[in-house]
Protein backbone atom coordinates (compact mmCIF):
# COMPACT_ATOMS: atom_id res chain seq x y z
CA UNK A 1 0.00 0.00 0.00
CA UNK A 2 2.69 2.51 0.92
CA UNK A 3 4.44 2.10 -2.39
CA UNK A 4 1.71 4.31 -3.81
CA UNK A 5 3.26 7.24 -1.92
CA UNK A 6 6.77 7.91 -3.20
CA UNK A 7 7.45 10.74 -0.71
CA UNK A 8 6.37 8.60 2.19
CA UNK A 9 8.46 5.71 0.93
CA UNK A 10 11.54 7.92 1.06
CA UNK A 11 10.56 8.86 4.60
CA UNK A 12 10.35 5.24 5.68
CA UNK A 13 13.82 4.69 4.27
CA UNK A 14 15.22 7.51 6.38
CA UNK A 15 13.54 6.20 9.51
CA UNK A 16 14.84 2.72 8.83
CA UNK A 17 18.40 3.99 8.68
CA UNK A 18 18.17 5.91 11.94
CA UNK A 19 16.71 2.92 13.77
CA UNK A 20 19.16 0.42 12.33
CA UNK A 21 21.30 0.42 15.45
CA UNK A 22 18.72 -1.31 17.61
CA UNK A 23 16.10 -2.71 15.28
CA UNK A 24 16.00 -4.61 12.04
CA UNK A 25 15.42 -2.01 9.29
CA UNK A 26 12.48 -3.94 7.83
CA UNK A 27 10.65 -4.07 11.13
CA UNK A 28 11.06 -0.33 11.73
CA UNK A 29 9.87 0.53 8.23
CA UNK A 30 6.90 -1.72 8.77
CA UNK A 31 5.87 0.16 11.93
CA UNK A 32 6.06 3.46 10.08
CA UNK A 33 4.09 2.12 7.11
CA UNK A 34 1.44 0.68 9.39
CA UNK A 35 1.37 3.93 11.35
CA UNK A 36 0.80 5.91 8.18
CA UNK A 37 -2.24 3.82 7.31
CA UNK A 38 -3.63 4.19 10.83
CA UNK A 39 -2.92 7.95 10.85
CA UNK A 40 -5.88 8.47 8.51
CA UNK A 41 -7.86 8.60 11.78
CA UNK A 42 -5.53 11.35 13.11
CA UNK A 43 -5.09 13.49 9.98
CA UNK A 44 -8.17 15.68 10.39
CA UNK A 45 -6.59 17.34 13.43
CA UNK A 46 -2.86 16.53 13.37
CA UNK A 47 -2.36 16.35 9.60
CA UNK A 48 -0.87 13.43 7.72
CA UNK A 49 2.31 15.54 7.67
CA UNK A 50 2.20 15.93 11.45
CA UNK A 51 1.50 19.66 11.22
CA UNK A 52 -1.73 20.48 13.05
CA UNK A 53 -4.76 21.29 10.90
CA UNK A 54 -6.97 22.42 13.77
CA UNK A 55 -6.14 25.15 16.28
CA UNK A 56 -6.82 22.87 19.25
CA UNK A 57 -4.39 20.13 18.19
CA UNK A 58 -0.59 20.08 18.52
CA UNK A 59 1.97 19.39 15.79
CA UNK A 60 3.24 15.81 16.04
CA UNK A 61 5.91 15.78 13.33
CA UNK A 62 9.29 14.61 14.61
CA UNK A 63 8.16 14.23 18.22
CA UNK A 64 10.20 11.44 19.83
CA UNK A 65 8.37 8.12 19.44
CA UNK A 66 8.86 7.33 23.13
CA UNK A 67 7.09 10.55 24.12
CA UNK A 68 4.20 10.03 21.70
CA UNK A 69 3.70 6.44 22.81
CA UNK A 70 3.76 7.38 26.49
CA UNK A 71 1.19 10.17 26.01
CA UNK A 72 -1.09 7.98 23.91
CA UNK A 73 -1.00 5.39 26.70
CA UNK A 74 -1.82 8.11 29.22
CA UNK A 75 -4.87 9.18 27.17
CA UNK A 76 -5.97 5.56 26.98
CA UNK A 77 -5.53 5.05 30.72
CA UNK A 78 -7.39 8.32 31.40
CA UNK A 79 -4.46 9.84 33.33
CA UNK A 80 -4.17 12.56 30.65
CA UNK A 81 -7.59 14.00 29.87
CA UNK A 82 -8.99 15.22 26.58
CA UNK A 83 -12.52 14.76 25.26
CA UNK A 84 -11.25 14.20 21.74
CA UNK A 85 -8.24 12.02 22.49
CA UNK A 86 -10.24 9.83 24.89
CA UNK A 87 -12.41 8.83 21.93
CA UNK A 88 -9.48 8.58 19.53
CA UNK A 89 -7.44 6.08 21.57
CA UNK A 90 -10.28 4.01 23.03
CA UNK A 91 -10.07 1.17 20.52
CA UNK A 92 -6.32 1.30 19.83
CA UNK A 93 -4.05 -1.62 20.75
CA UNK A 94 -0.48 -1.36 22.04
CA UNK A 95 0.71 -2.13 18.51
CA UNK A 96 -1.44 0.68 17.09
CA UNK A 97 0.01 3.18 19.55
CA UNK A 98 3.55 2.09 18.71
CA UNK A 99 2.93 2.27 14.96
CA UNK A 100 1.43 5.75 15.18
CA UNK A 101 4.28 6.98 17.37
CA UNK A 102 6.78 5.50 14.90
CA UNK A 103 5.09 7.20 11.96
CA UNK A 104 4.82 10.70 13.41
CA UNK A 105 8.34 10.59 14.86
CA UNK A 106 9.73 9.58 11.45
CA UNK A 107 8.53 12.79 9.78
CA UNK A 108 11.48 15.11 9.29
CA UNK A 109 11.14 18.82 9.93
CA UNK A 110 13.40 21.84 9.77
CA UNK A 111 13.24 25.01 11.85
CA UNK A 112 13.33 27.98 9.48
CA UNK A 113 13.38 30.93 11.84
CA UNK A 114 13.59 31.55 15.56
CA UNK A 115 12.46 34.93 16.94
CA UNK A 116 15.41 36.90 18.36
Amino acid sequence: MWLRFPAAAALFGAAAVSCAAFMAPDAAAQDVAAGRRKAVACQACHGLDGIAKQPDAPNLAAQPASYLERELRAYRAGTRRSEVMAVAVKALSDVDLRDLAAYYSAIQIEVKAVPQ
Partner: protein, 420 residues
Protein backbone atom coordinates in the same frame (compact mmCIF):
# COMPACT_ATOMS: atom_id res chain seq x y z
CA UNK B 1 -28.92 51.51 9.08
CA UNK B 2 -30.75 54.30 10.84
CA UNK B 3 -28.98 57.18 12.52
CA UNK B 4 -31.00 56.72 15.68
CA UNK B 5 -30.10 53.05 15.67
CA UNK B 6 -26.43 53.90 15.58
CA UNK B 7 -26.73 56.64 18.19
CA UNK B 8 -28.59 54.32 20.55
CA UNK B 9 -26.03 51.64 19.98
CA UNK B 10 -23.13 53.93 20.81
CA UNK B 11 -24.83 55.27 23.92
CA UNK B 12 -25.26 51.69 25.05
CA UNK B 13 -21.65 50.93 24.23
CA UNK B 14 -20.40 53.89 26.23
CA UNK B 15 -22.56 52.99 29.20
CA UNK B 16 -21.07 49.53 29.44
CA UNK B 17 -18.14 49.15 31.76
CA UNK B 18 -15.08 47.08 31.00
CA UNK B 19 -12.42 45.52 33.13
CA UNK B 20 -9.27 44.90 31.35
CA UNK B 21 -5.72 44.22 31.81
CA UNK B 22 -4.85 43.17 28.28
CA UNK B 23 -3.84 45.38 25.36
CA UNK B 24 -6.83 44.16 23.35
CA UNK B 25 -9.20 45.31 26.07
CA UNK B 26 -7.44 48.70 26.33
CA UNK B 27 -7.91 49.08 22.60
CA UNK B 28 -11.57 48.19 22.73
CA UNK B 29 -12.10 50.91 25.34
CA UNK B 30 -10.47 53.44 22.97
CA UNK B 31 -12.42 52.28 19.93
CA UNK B 32 -15.70 52.41 21.83
CA UNK B 33 -15.00 56.16 22.16
CA UNK B 34 -13.85 56.57 18.53
CA UNK B 35 -10.20 57.12 19.58
CA UNK B 36 -7.29 55.62 17.65
CA UNK B 37 -5.51 52.64 19.14
CA UNK B 38 -2.14 53.49 17.59
CA UNK B 39 -2.11 50.28 15.54
CA UNK B 40 -0.07 50.38 12.30
CA UNK B 41 -2.30 51.79 9.57
CA UNK B 42 -0.97 49.30 7.05
CA UNK B 43 -2.64 45.92 7.39
CA UNK B 44 -0.60 43.31 5.50
CA UNK B 45 -2.64 41.52 2.81
CA UNK B 46 -2.72 37.73 2.34
CA UNK B 47 -1.09 36.78 -1.03
CA UNK B 48 -3.76 35.63 -3.50
CA UNK B 49 -1.51 34.15 -6.16
CA UNK B 50 1.40 31.71 -6.33
CA UNK B 51 2.11 28.08 -5.53
CA UNK B 52 -0.57 27.65 -2.87
CA UNK B 53 -3.34 29.19 -5.00
CA UNK B 54 -2.26 27.03 -7.96
CA UNK B 55 -2.32 23.84 -5.86
CA UNK B 56 -5.80 24.65 -4.53
CA UNK B 57 -7.09 25.28 -8.07
CA UNK B 58 -5.64 21.91 -9.07
CA UNK B 59 -7.50 20.21 -6.20
CA UNK B 60 -10.76 21.85 -7.30
CA UNK B 61 -10.60 19.81 -10.52
CA UNK B 62 -11.55 16.82 -8.34
CA UNK B 63 -14.77 18.43 -7.14
CA UNK B 64 -17.94 17.03 -8.70
CA UNK B 65 -21.03 19.20 -9.09
CA UNK B 66 -24.42 18.73 -10.80
CA UNK B 67 -24.34 19.43 -14.58
CA UNK B 68 -24.00 23.10 -15.55
CA UNK B 69 -22.33 24.22 -12.30
CA UNK B 70 -18.71 25.27 -11.96
CA UNK B 71 -16.40 25.90 -9.03
CA UNK B 72 -13.51 28.36 -8.80
CA UNK B 73 -11.14 29.62 -6.17
CA UNK B 74 -12.62 32.85 -4.77
CA UNK B 75 -10.01 33.77 -2.16
CA UNK B 76 -7.08 32.49 -0.12
CA UNK B 77 -8.22 32.94 3.47
CA UNK B 78 -6.19 31.13 6.15
CA UNK B 79 -8.32 29.06 8.59
CA UNK B 80 -11.54 30.26 6.87
CA UNK B 81 -14.64 29.34 8.88
CA UNK B 82 -18.03 31.07 8.96
CA UNK B 83 -18.87 33.81 6.47
CA UNK B 84 -20.97 36.97 6.54
CA UNK B 85 -21.55 38.53 3.11
CA UNK B 86 -21.79 42.33 3.38
CA UNK B 87 -25.26 43.75 2.68
CA UNK B 88 -24.31 46.47 0.21
CA UNK B 89 -20.76 45.98 -1.12
CA UNK B 90 -18.79 43.16 -2.74
CA UNK B 91 -17.02 42.09 0.43
CA UNK B 92 -17.47 39.63 3.26
CA UNK B 93 -16.15 38.91 6.73
CA UNK B 94 -14.78 35.50 7.58
CA UNK B 95 -14.33 34.06 11.08
CA UNK B 96 -11.61 31.67 12.24
CA UNK B 97 -11.01 29.38 15.21
CA UNK B 98 -7.79 31.24 15.91
CA UNK B 99 -7.45 35.01 16.58
CA UNK B 100 -8.29 36.68 13.28
CA UNK B 101 -11.44 37.86 11.51
CA UNK B 102 -10.72 38.38 7.80
CA UNK B 103 -12.13 41.12 5.57
CA UNK B 104 -12.35 39.77 2.01
CA UNK B 105 -12.93 42.31 -0.77
CA UNK B 106 -13.75 41.92 -4.45
CA UNK B 107 -12.73 45.42 -5.60
CA UNK B 108 -13.43 45.08 -9.31
CA UNK B 109 -16.62 43.00 -9.07
CA UNK B 110 -15.24 40.09 -11.11
CA UNK B 111 -16.29 37.58 -8.43
CA UNK B 112 -12.73 36.81 -7.42
CA UNK B 113 -11.50 38.45 -4.22
CA UNK B 114 -8.69 40.97 -4.71
CA UNK B 115 -7.82 41.72 -1.12
CA UNK B 116 -7.79 39.69 2.09
CA UNK B 117 -6.79 41.54 5.27
CA UNK B 118 -7.25 41.13 9.01
CA UNK B 119 -10.30 42.98 10.34
CA UNK B 120 -9.86 45.21 13.42
CA UNK B 121 -6.36 43.87 14.16
CA UNK B 122 -6.02 46.08 17.24
CA UNK B 123 -8.62 43.94 19.02
CA UNK B 124 -7.47 40.58 20.30
CA UNK B 125 -10.06 38.07 19.16
CA UNK B 126 -10.32 34.62 20.78
CA UNK B 127 -11.89 32.00 18.49
CA UNK B 128 -13.94 34.56 16.52
CA UNK B 129 -15.78 31.87 14.56
CA UNK B 130 -19.30 33.33 14.41
CA UNK B 131 -20.02 36.25 12.08
CA UNK B 132 -23.44 37.56 11.01
CA UNK B 133 -25.30 40.78 10.21
CA UNK B 134 -28.13 42.67 11.76
CA UNK B 135 -30.77 43.69 9.21
CA UNK B 136 -29.46 47.27 9.25
CA UNK B 137 -25.80 46.49 8.62
CA UNK B 138 -24.10 45.98 11.99
CA UNK B 139 -21.57 43.14 11.91
CA UNK B 140 -21.78 40.74 14.86
CA UNK B 141 -18.68 38.75 15.84
CA UNK B 142 -19.29 35.94 18.32
CA UNK B 143 -16.09 34.69 19.95
CA UNK B 144 -15.75 31.76 22.30
CA UNK B 145 -16.78 33.89 25.27
CA UNK B 146 -17.56 37.44 24.07
CA UNK B 147 -19.84 39.14 21.54
CA UNK B 148 -18.89 42.34 19.70
CA UNK B 149 -20.96 44.48 17.32
CA UNK B 150 -19.34 46.64 14.62
CA UNK B 151 -21.49 49.48 13.18
CA UNK B 152 -21.07 49.99 9.42
CA UNK B 153 -18.25 47.44 9.38
CA UNK B 154 -18.30 47.16 5.59
CA UNK B 155 -17.26 50.83 5.35
CA UNK B 156 -14.95 51.18 8.38
CA UNK B 157 -12.87 48.04 7.90
CA UNK B 158 -10.25 49.56 5.57
CA UNK B 159 -8.32 50.98 8.55
CA UNK B 160 -7.22 49.13 11.70
CA UNK B 161 -9.54 51.06 14.04
CA UNK B 162 -13.27 50.48 13.77
CA UNK B 163 -16.29 51.50 15.79
CA UNK B 164 -17.24 48.75 18.22
CA UNK B 165 -19.96 47.95 20.73
CA UNK B 166 -19.35 45.37 23.45
CA UNK B 167 -22.57 43.33 23.41
CA UNK B 168 -21.46 40.61 25.82
CA UNK B 169 -18.15 41.38 27.61
CA UNK B 170 -15.38 38.82 27.87
CA UNK B 171 -16.33 35.96 30.18
CA UNK B 172 -20.08 36.56 30.21
CA UNK B 173 -21.34 34.51 27.29
CA UNK B 174 -20.65 31.35 29.30
CA UNK B 175 -19.19 30.95 32.82
CA UNK B 176 -15.38 31.22 32.33
CA UNK B 177 -14.84 27.89 34.13
CA UNK B 178 -16.83 26.20 31.34
CA UNK B 179 -14.53 27.53 28.60
CA UNK B 180 -13.08 24.73 26.48
CA UNK B 181 -11.18 24.19 23.28
CA UNK B 182 -13.67 21.49 22.42
CA UNK B 183 -16.84 22.69 20.66
CA UNK B 184 -15.95 26.31 21.35
CA UNK B 185 -16.69 27.74 17.91
CA UNK B 186 -19.94 29.73 17.75
CA UNK B 187 -22.36 30.41 14.92
CA UNK B 188 -24.93 33.20 14.79
CA UNK B 189 -27.87 34.74 12.91
CA UNK B 190 -30.17 37.71 13.48
CA UNK B 191 -33.86 36.89 13.23
CA UNK B 192 -36.83 38.83 11.87
CA UNK B 193 -37.48 39.74 15.53
CA UNK B 194 -34.12 41.63 15.40
CA UNK B 195 -32.75 39.35 18.13
CA UNK B 196 -29.34 37.71 17.86
CA UNK B 197 -29.41 33.90 17.92
CA UNK B 198 -26.21 32.13 19.00
CA UNK B 199 -25.58 28.37 19.00
CA UNK B 200 -23.53 27.29 22.02
CA UNK B 201 -21.89 23.85 21.78
CA UNK B 202 -21.42 21.86 24.98
CA UNK B 203 -17.75 21.07 25.52
CA UNK B 204 -17.93 17.30 26.06
CA UNK B 205 -18.35 14.39 23.68
CA UNK B 206 -21.28 13.46 25.95
CA UNK B 207 -21.96 15.82 28.88
CA UNK B 208 -21.69 14.43 32.42
CA UNK B 209 -24.94 14.44 34.40
CA UNK B 210 -23.69 16.95 36.96
CA UNK B 211 -23.34 19.58 34.22
CA UNK B 212 -26.83 19.23 32.73
CA UNK B 213 -28.63 21.68 35.01
CA UNK B 214 -26.05 24.45 34.58
CA UNK B 215 -25.87 23.92 30.80
CA UNK B 216 -29.66 24.10 30.47
CA UNK B 217 -29.76 27.33 32.45
CA UNK B 218 -26.99 29.02 30.42
CA UNK B 219 -28.03 27.56 27.05
CA UNK B 220 -24.85 25.53 26.56
CA UNK B 221 -25.79 22.64 24.27
CA UNK B 222 -28.51 24.80 22.80
CA UNK B 223 -29.33 28.12 21.17
CA UNK B 224 -29.73 31.41 23.02
CA UNK B 225 -31.14 34.72 21.83
CA UNK B 226 -30.40 38.22 23.01
CA UNK B 227 -30.45 41.87 21.98
CA UNK B 228 -27.58 42.34 19.47
CA UNK B 229 -26.66 45.80 20.83
CA UNK B 230 -26.67 45.54 24.62
CA UNK B 231 -27.01 41.81 25.29
CA UNK B 232 -30.28 42.36 27.14
CA UNK B 233 -33.33 40.07 27.11
CA UNK B 234 -31.09 37.01 26.95
CA UNK B 235 -33.00 33.74 27.04
CA UNK B 236 -32.46 30.13 26.13
CA UNK B 237 -34.30 29.51 22.84
CA UNK B 238 -33.61 25.79 22.23
CA UNK B 239 -32.13 22.96 24.32
CA UNK B 240 -31.11 19.32 23.82
CA UNK B 241 -28.43 20.07 21.21
CA UNK B 242 -24.92 18.57 21.30
CA UNK B 243 -22.84 21.02 19.28
CA UNK B 244 -24.50 23.11 16.61
CA UNK B 245 -22.11 25.15 14.43
CA UNK B 246 -24.58 26.29 11.80
CA UNK B 247 -28.01 27.86 11.73
CA UNK B 248 -30.21 29.88 9.39
CA UNK B 249 -33.74 31.19 9.23
CA UNK B 250 -36.04 30.12 6.44
CA UNK B 251 -36.99 33.55 5.05
CA UNK B 252 -40.32 32.10 3.89
CA UNK B 253 -41.77 31.04 7.26
CA UNK B 254 -39.26 32.36 9.83
CA UNK B 255 -38.43 28.90 11.24
CA UNK B 256 -34.89 28.50 12.58
CA UNK B 257 -32.95 25.56 11.12
CA UNK B 258 -29.70 24.28 12.62
CA UNK B 259 -27.21 21.46 12.20
CA UNK B 260 -25.94 19.26 15.04
CA UNK B 261 -22.66 17.35 15.22
CA UNK B 262 -22.51 13.61 15.77
CA UNK B 263 -21.44 11.91 19.02
CA UNK B 264 -18.06 10.18 18.80
CA UNK B 265 -16.98 6.79 20.05
CA UNK B 266 -20.10 4.74 19.26
CA UNK B 267 -18.70 3.12 16.10
CA UNK B 268 -18.51 4.13 12.46
CA UNK B 269 -22.21 4.12 11.63
CA UNK B 270 -24.09 5.67 14.55
CA UNK B 271 -25.43 8.09 15.51
CA UNK B 272 -26.76 9.99 12.52
CA UNK B 273 -26.20 13.74 12.43
CA UNK B 274 -29.14 16.09 12.48
CA UNK B 275 -30.56 19.10 10.74
CA UNK B 276 -33.30 20.46 12.99
CA UNK B 277 -36.12 22.95 12.66
CA UNK B 278 -37.20 25.17 15.54
CA UNK B 279 -40.60 26.75 15.04
CA UNK B 280 -41.01 28.35 18.49
CA UNK B 281 -39.03 29.07 21.68
CA UNK B 282 -38.51 26.34 24.26
CA UNK B 283 -38.25 23.27 22.05
CA UNK B 284 -36.10 20.35 23.24
CA UNK B 285 -34.12 18.38 20.68
CA UNK B 286 -33.27 15.27 22.69
CA UNK B 287 -29.56 15.40 23.56
CA UNK B 288 -27.92 13.71 25.45
CA UNK B 289 -30.66 11.07 25.66
CA UNK B 290 -30.96 10.63 21.94
CA UNK B 291 -29.20 11.74 18.75
CA UNK B 292 -30.36 10.84 15.27
CA UNK B 293 -32.20 7.56 15.94
CA UNK B 294 -29.69 6.40 18.55
CA UNK B 295 -29.90 6.32 22.34
CA UNK B 296 -26.65 7.65 23.82
CA UNK B 297 -24.97 5.02 26.03
CA UNK B 298 -22.22 7.09 27.67
CA UNK B 299 -23.10 8.00 31.27
CA UNK B 300 -26.08 5.63 30.98
CA UNK B 301 -28.44 8.08 29.26
CA UNK B 302 -29.92 5.15 27.34
CA UNK B 303 -31.08 3.62 30.64
CA UNK B 304 -33.23 6.66 31.44
CA UNK B 305 -36.79 6.75 30.14
CA UNK B 306 -36.80 8.68 26.86
CA UNK B 307 -38.01 12.23 27.53
CA UNK B 308 -41.46 12.64 25.99
CA UNK B 309 -41.19 16.08 24.45
CA UNK B 310 -38.37 15.62 21.92
CA UNK B 311 -38.58 17.48 18.60
CA UNK B 312 -37.12 15.03 16.07
CA UNK B 313 -34.72 16.07 13.29
CA UNK B 314 -35.89 17.05 9.82
CA UNK B 315 -32.83 15.51 8.16
CA UNK B 316 -30.72 12.55 9.33
CA UNK B 317 -27.16 12.87 8.00
CA UNK B 318 -24.31 10.38 7.75
CA UNK B 319 -22.68 9.42 11.04
CA UNK B 320 -19.54 11.48 11.74
CA UNK B 321 -19.89 13.58 8.56
CA UNK B 322 -19.82 16.71 10.80
CA UNK B 323 -22.52 19.00 9.42
CA UNK B 324 -21.49 22.60 10.14
CA UNK B 325 -22.58 25.81 8.38
CA UNK B 326 -25.84 26.19 6.48
CA UNK B 327 -27.70 28.73 4.39
CA UNK B 328 -31.05 28.95 2.70
CA UNK B 329 -30.65 29.58 -0.99
CA UNK B 330 -32.09 33.04 -1.52
CA UNK B 331 -30.52 33.68 -4.94
CA UNK B 332 -31.96 33.43 -8.44
CA UNK B 333 -28.89 32.22 -10.37
CA UNK B 334 -29.29 28.48 -9.65
CA UNK B 335 -32.11 26.45 -11.28
CA UNK B 336 -35.60 26.58 -9.77
CA UNK B 337 -35.19 23.33 -7.79
CA UNK B 338 -32.60 25.00 -5.54
CA UNK B 339 -34.64 28.10 -4.80
CA UNK B 340 -36.16 28.03 -1.34
CA UNK B 341 -34.10 25.01 -0.22
CA UNK B 342 -30.89 25.07 1.83
CA UNK B 343 -27.25 24.08 1.57
CA UNK B 344 -25.23 22.53 4.41
CA UNK B 345 -21.45 22.02 4.61
CA UNK B 346 -20.03 18.75 5.91
CA UNK B 347 -16.57 19.20 7.42
CA UNK B 348 -15.87 15.45 7.25
CA UNK B 349 -15.19 12.82 9.90
CA UNK B 350 -12.05 12.92 12.01
CA UNK B 351 -11.51 9.36 13.19
CA UNK B 352 -14.00 7.22 11.31
CA UNK B 353 -12.27 4.06 9.98
CA UNK B 354 -13.25 5.09 6.46
CA UNK B 355 -13.48 8.90 6.34
CA UNK B 356 -16.80 10.38 5.17
CA UNK B 357 -18.01 13.91 4.45
CA UNK B 358 -16.02 16.90 3.15
CA UNK B 359 -18.86 17.88 0.84
CA UNK B 360 -21.80 20.23 0.45
CA UNK B 361 -25.35 18.88 0.67
CA UNK B 362 -28.62 20.33 -0.64
CA UNK B 363 -32.02 19.85 0.99
CA UNK B 364 -35.29 20.77 -0.69
CA UNK B 365 -38.43 21.59 1.28
CA UNK B 366 -42.01 20.42 1.02
CA UNK B 367 -44.88 22.86 0.57
CA UNK B 368 -45.56 22.69 4.33
CA UNK B 369 -42.03 23.95 5.08
CA UNK B 370 -40.59 20.64 6.32
CA UNK B 371 -37.57 18.91 4.77
CA UNK B 372 -38.10 16.89 1.60
CA UNK B 373 -35.00 15.33 0.00
CA UNK B 374 -31.31 15.71 0.81
CA UNK B 375 -28.67 15.08 -1.85
CA UNK B 376 -24.96 15.60 -2.42
CA UNK B 377 -24.31 18.93 -4.18
CA UNK B 378 -20.50 19.21 -4.16
CA UNK B 379 -18.15 16.32 -3.42
CA UNK B 380 -14.50 15.39 -4.01
CA UNK B 381 -12.33 16.97 -1.30
CA UNK B 382 -11.78 13.51 0.17
CA UNK B 383 -9.40 11.68 -2.16
CA UNK B 384 -9.22 8.00 -3.14
CA UNK B 385 -6.79 7.29 -0.29
CA UNK B 386 -9.05 8.80 2.35
CA UNK B 387 -6.90 11.91 2.59
CA UNK B 388 -8.47 15.37 2.90
CA UNK B 389 -7.70 17.92 0.18
CA UNK B 390 -10.09 20.32 1.82
CA UNK B 391 -12.80 20.44 4.48
CA UNK B 392 -15.88 22.61 3.85
CA UNK B 393 -17.06 24.60 6.87
CA UNK B 394 -19.70 27.10 5.80
CA UNK B 395 -21.82 28.14 2.82
CA UNK B 396 -23.08 31.63 1.91
CA UNK B 397 -25.02 33.15 -0.98
CA UNK B 398 -23.39 36.07 -2.84
CA UNK B 399 -25.41 38.96 -4.26
CA UNK B 400 -25.38 37.46 -7.77
CA UNK B 401 -26.83 34.18 -6.50
CA UNK B 402 -23.60 32.20 -6.62
CA UNK B 403 -22.60 30.12 -3.57
CA UNK B 404 -19.45 30.54 -1.48
CA UNK B 405 -17.92 27.57 0.37
CA UNK B 406 -15.28 28.14 3.08
CA UNK B 407 -12.56 25.57 3.82
CA UNK B 408 -10.45 25.79 7.00
CA UNK B 409 -8.13 22.94 5.98
CA UNK B 410 -6.95 24.40 2.67
CA UNK B 411 -7.46 27.96 3.92
CA UNK B 412 -9.65 29.05 1.05
CA UNK B 413 -13.07 30.19 -0.11
CA UNK B 414 -14.56 28.70 -3.28
CA UNK B 415 -17.37 30.06 -5.45
CA UNK B 416 -19.91 27.84 -7.20
CA UNK B 417 -21.75 29.46 -10.09
CA UNK B 418 -24.29 28.38 -12.70
CA UNK B 419 -23.29 30.17 -15.90
CA UNK B 420 -26.14 30.75 -18.34
Amino acid sequence: MTRTGMATAFAVALALGGIAPAQGQQNIEKLKQFKVSGTDLNIPPVPQTGKNADAIRENLKRVKLPPGFKIDLYAIVPDARHMAVAPSTNMLFVGTRKTTVWAVTDRNSDYVADEVKAFAPSLKFQVPNGVCWTKDGFLIVVEHNRILNFPAAEFFYEGPDVAVIEVVPQGQLIPPEEESFNHGARACRVGADKMLYVALGQPFNVPPREKLELFKKVGIGGIIRLNPFDGSKREVYATGVRNSVGLDFNPKDGSLWFTDNQTDGMGDDIPAGEVNRATKPGQFFGYPWKQGRTRITENGYDKDPLPANITDPQVYTDAHAADLGMTFYTGKQFPAKYQGGFFTAQHGSWNRTKPIGARVMFTSLKADGTADKTEIFADGWLDENGIYRGRPVDVAVLHDGSLLISDDFAGAIYRVSYPQ
